[in-house]
Amino acid sequence: VSDVDLEPIGGVAPFDPTAPLTPSGNLRRRLIVSGISQGVAGVAAAIAVAALLLVTVEVIARGAGVISWSFLTTNASQFGVGGGIGSAIIGSALIVGCGAVIAIPLGVLCAIYLAEFAGPRSHMAKLLRTALDMTQGLPTVVIGLFVFGLFSGKPSGFAGSVALSMIMLPLIARTSQEVLRTIPSSLREASDALGVDRWRSILGVILPAAMGGIATGTILAIARAAGETAPLLIVDGIYNASKTTINIFGHGVPNIPLSIYEAAESPTPDALARVWGTALVLLALILIANIAARLLLARSRRRMGL
């Protein structure tokens, strides 16, 4: 009864057609509660956006002054004071690139198996899906520790690549599988009807159609791996940043995330400014990769007419 808007008995006002249609009583209370809750949700979204802007603006404001051609191309000086991040940029590119070279084929193959070969009740597929989920959920330090043991505790850039590939692989496999699912089955049927072998229609028809989505997932995975620090600290934590190195095997390789981490508690404002500069380089690369991935996805969606 209390949910119904009734005027108190006895005090029924005569109907007034000119009275404004404003909710009163219980309905008014309900609308106020609803309004407040919507406001709170809006504030929550605003907080998240503010956090993103705050960090980004702060990194740009404090780091932009340091960025120069020589900062990006020269190496850190021998004794850790001054110098640029040239060797770290090259090292990071090599470590992440090598990790991607390992992870992309494996991830895409896993996705093809799950989406194209495995039947709906395949035990292997179930197992593989669980394994991918588990790997994705693993704390990155645990992955780092595993690779640390795999390389008997010897720091090397390649060990970093292996650790990063374990982080990228489930992400790539997951998104590729989702994309392969969205490929219309009419493509497969048309291919089958023409008597094309399975492997040919997968490599020649299905994969090309899914390329945009797979590329998006891959870029996002690489961007995620590029910022990973904990596994690199564990398997590639000792290096000489004053020397550029192309060979990532057998010895530690300088990289961007660790340059930030190792110098994060520097005492001098000068050194800190360089850390902000390094952070700006990393953040810019990652955000640009994210935006590019988004645009790519939008484009391939448009082309597929979704």
Partner: protein, 321 residues
């Protein structure tokens, strides 16, 4: 040779085929090989962590979990302080992040007008892309001093009686700051997942409720939240997994203490942070085994939360179909 010449009768590719081409076999083999490698890596990882932890487990047993001293030079190892730090920071981060993420999810799925949605949605997801080391660095230089200067004292005045928000400290490097940084990391993950869940609620349910005169909030509380609750819970579990395993953003902002404090403004340490910071500075073999033991604890907690999340998500989807 024309295309037609290559045509040959074949049994349906999904059914039993009399003739399987070599290319099919090779590609299938490659795919299975890749899958096998993933499985092998996971098994190898578990084996190695268990194997590395075994000596420490033999020596300290489960009492390891209850000991508070961690003194590598004297071969005294106990995980209690790190367990405490992990539990407190993760719990606090979840406590902050869960309502915030659900609010964001609702805003993006139901409340925001389309132009706002298409801008804010990607921005929230972008927050997840910020590397943890940058968040940690931001935390140490900008956020921690702000917390120490402007937040600790007022919160202490209001909530000091709980004992959690005790005497304000100087640096701001504390479990409290680390929790806030962790919350920043898991909000975008949980928000994006719960937005997708809220979008998946059948519109007939929502429209039905609105047709019965429910306000927006009543639709949310009476229809949207109840139908998606298990999914949201499993999203929160995934966020928890992320919070438990995060090492460096925490190690930078938590202050690296070894003592258990009730006061959140004090320093602490977590399992993941301790592993990442000490593994390259091992003083004796048992030190390494103890760190592997910490990783084993982390692995077990991680697997349990992951399984829980999957179980609930599966029951949820099974119940819906």
């Amino acid at each position: 040779m024309s295309v037609w010449a290559q045509l040959r009768p074949r049994a349906g590719t999904r059914g039993p085929s009399l003739e399987v081409s070599r290319g099919d076999l090779i590609l299938r083999g490659l795919c299975l090989g890749a899958g096998g490698l993933v499985l092998a890596a996971l098994v190898g990882l578990v084996y190695e962590i268990v194997h590395g932890a075994a000596p420490a487990f033999d020596k300290y047993g489960l009492a390891f979990l209850g000991h508070t001293t961690w003194a590598p030079n004297f071969s005294h190892f106990g995980a209690a302080a790190m367990l405490y730090g992990t539990a407190v920071t993760s719990a606090l981060a979840l406590l902050i992040a869960t309502p915030l993420s659900i609010g964001i999810g609702l805003f993006l799925a139901m409340l925001a007008p389309k132009p706002v949605r298409t801008v804010v949605g990607p921005l929230v997801e972008m927050l997840a892309a910020i590397p943890s080391v940058i968040l940690g660095f931001f935390g140490i230089i900008v956020f921690a001093p702000f917390i120490a200067g402007h937040v600790e004292k007022p919160l202490h005045d209001i909530l000091g009686w709980t004992g959690l928000f005790g005497t304000p400290q100087q640096t701001g490097l504390s479990m409290f700051t680390a929790s806030l940084i962790l919350a920043t990391m898991i909000v975008p993950i949980v928000a994006a997942l719960s937005r997708d869940l809220f979008l998946s609620v059948p519109s007939e349910l929502k429209d039905g409720a609105e047709a019965l005169g429910a306000t927006r909030w009543e639709v949310i509380r009476g229809v949207v939240i109840p139908t998606t609750l298990p999914g949201v819970f499993s999203a929160v579990m995934l966020g928890l997994g992320r919070a438990l395993g995060e090492a460096l953003a925490v190690s930078l902002t938590i202050g690296g203490g070894t003592v258990i404090y009730a006061n959140l403004y004090q320093t602490g340490d977590t399992l993941a942070a301790r592993i990442a910071t000490e593994i390259n500075y091992i003083v004796n073999p048992m030190h390494r085994h103890a760190l592997y033991y910490l990783a084993l604890i982390l692995l077990v907690i991680g697997v349990v939360t992951n399984l829980l999340a999957r179980l609930i998500a599966r029951r949820y989807t099974a119940g819906r179909v």
